[in-house]
């Protein structure tokens, strides 16, 4: 049984993956920066309680925190539409004092990649239960077993979610084509959820 590594080592090893996941999940550099910081602060606090033997692998554990942080952010945004004062809790400006060239370059890279943008837009039209495993599988190159660790669900369920998500993309595309739209159109078209 290996010793529990110091948190610094965990940070060095997994920073890129957490950042990349949040960048692709949010498709927004500033939000991803803010959420990445939150994830590692949360992980730092929880690290003393993390058990190597019983908990999910560190990578899955961190991505799960990141996913929860992103869901929390989505809920906050939804709530802020109804309670304007919720903006009190607006994310700190994490991009402040960062290298402006790096920031601009990052935004540019995301915007330039047309195929990625179209795919990202298509994925955003999916319910999150389909979007997340597809993101993890195709953009983060995680295996179904690893995704099962992140989501805390059986491998078979993860596979099914990925396949059903792709089927939904096909269905959405059919709907768009029938409307004469493509995924580059500004307005997303979503198919109403029928089954839970």
């Amino acid at each position: 049984m290996p010793d529990k590594p110091p948190f610094e080592q965990v940070y060095e090893t997994h920073y890129s993956q957490v950042w990349r996941f949040l960048l692709h999940a949010t498709a927004d550099v500033e939000t991803a920066l803010e959420l990445t910081s939150r994830v590692f602060f949360r992980a730092l606090r929880a690290w003393p309680r993390y058990q190597l033997s019983t908990a999910a692998p560190v990578e899955a554990w961190l991505i799960r925190i990141a996913l929860n942080e992103w869901r929390r952010e989505l809920r906050r945004r939804k709530l802020s539409r109804f309670v304007p004062l919720i903006h009190l809790s607006k994310a700190e400006d994490e991009s402040k004092d960062l290298d402006a060239h790096e920031l601009n370059a990052a935004v540019e890279v995301l915007e330039k990649d047309e195929e990625y943008r179209l795919l990202r837009r298509a994925l955003a039209s999916l319910p999150q239960k389909y979007e997340t495993p597809i993101l993890l599988h195709y953009f983060e190159y995680m295996s179904f077993e690893q995704i099962a660790d992140v989501l805390g669900r059986p491998v078979g369920t993860v596979k099914s979610l990925v396949h059903r998500g792709i089927a939904r993309l096909r269905q959405n595309q059919g709907l768009r084509e029938s409307l004469g739209l493509s995924f580059s159109e500004a307005e997303p078209v979503t198919v109403k959820e029928v089954s839970p």
């Binding site: 910081s37 602060f41 004062l85 919720i86 994310a91 960062l98 790096e102 990052a106 890279v109 990625y116």
Partner: protein, 182 residues
């Protein structure tokens, strides 16, 4: 046209890294700096909004909490007005201006929910017996106007000699009460 599986497999998500963020976050984590953002949540903000609202209400009306605690519905009954209309008579117990005592508020509501009458009644012991005597006298002489009748309870509207208008209610047996029109 490529299938969605192929599109997803063939598209490589762009690799972007912001090393200045990575270094700064590492320094922050190492310094043990607290991060307020991670404990922020809509729930906490909602609670803050509520605390501010309650503080505001308290500043404007300091006794609101005690008044709220003392406003108790003590009785609710349906009665028939002299014109035949059904009314709901609700009796509330309110804190009185005099500390330690209460006022009874008798409110009559029509079937449509409209308040047709609202009268405050101080504790009956605070009302002079003379009011009751004068009211009883008017009832006996037939000068009192029947205001409300419900089972064995009769409420009369009485104009006293000093000009005040009261509601004099005679219940079953010897029970009675007076509502003063404030």
């Amino acid at each position: 046209m490529k299938s969605w599986e192929h599109r997803l497999t063939d598209t490589h998500a762009p690799e972007v890294e912001i090393s200045s963020h990575r270094a700064r976050l590492k320094a922050k984590l190492a310094s043990g700096a607290s991060r307020h953002g991670i404990v922020r949540s809509p729930l906490i903000v909602g609670m803050l909004v509520m605390v501010v609202a309650l503080a505001g209400v308290t500043a404007i009306h300091p006794t609101w909490a005690s008044e709220l605690l003392h406003i108790i519905l003590v009785d609710e009954r349906t009665a028939t007005a002299p014109d035949g209309a059904k009314v709901i008579q609700r009796t509330y117990q309110l804190p009185s201006e005099n500390a330690g005592s209460t006022t009874t508020l008798v409110r009559l509501e029509g079937q449509d929910g409209q308040i047709t009458s609202e009268r405050a009644e101080a504790g009956s012991d605070a009302l002079p017996q003379s009011m009751k005597d004068e009211a009883e006298q008017q009832v006996q002489s037939g000068r009192a106007k029947l205001y409300l009748q419900n089972a064995g309870t009769f409420t009369y509207e009485i104009t006293l000699s000093d000009g005040r208008t009261i509601l004099y209610t005679k219940g079953p047996g010897e029970s009675w009460s007076i509502s003063e029109n404030k």
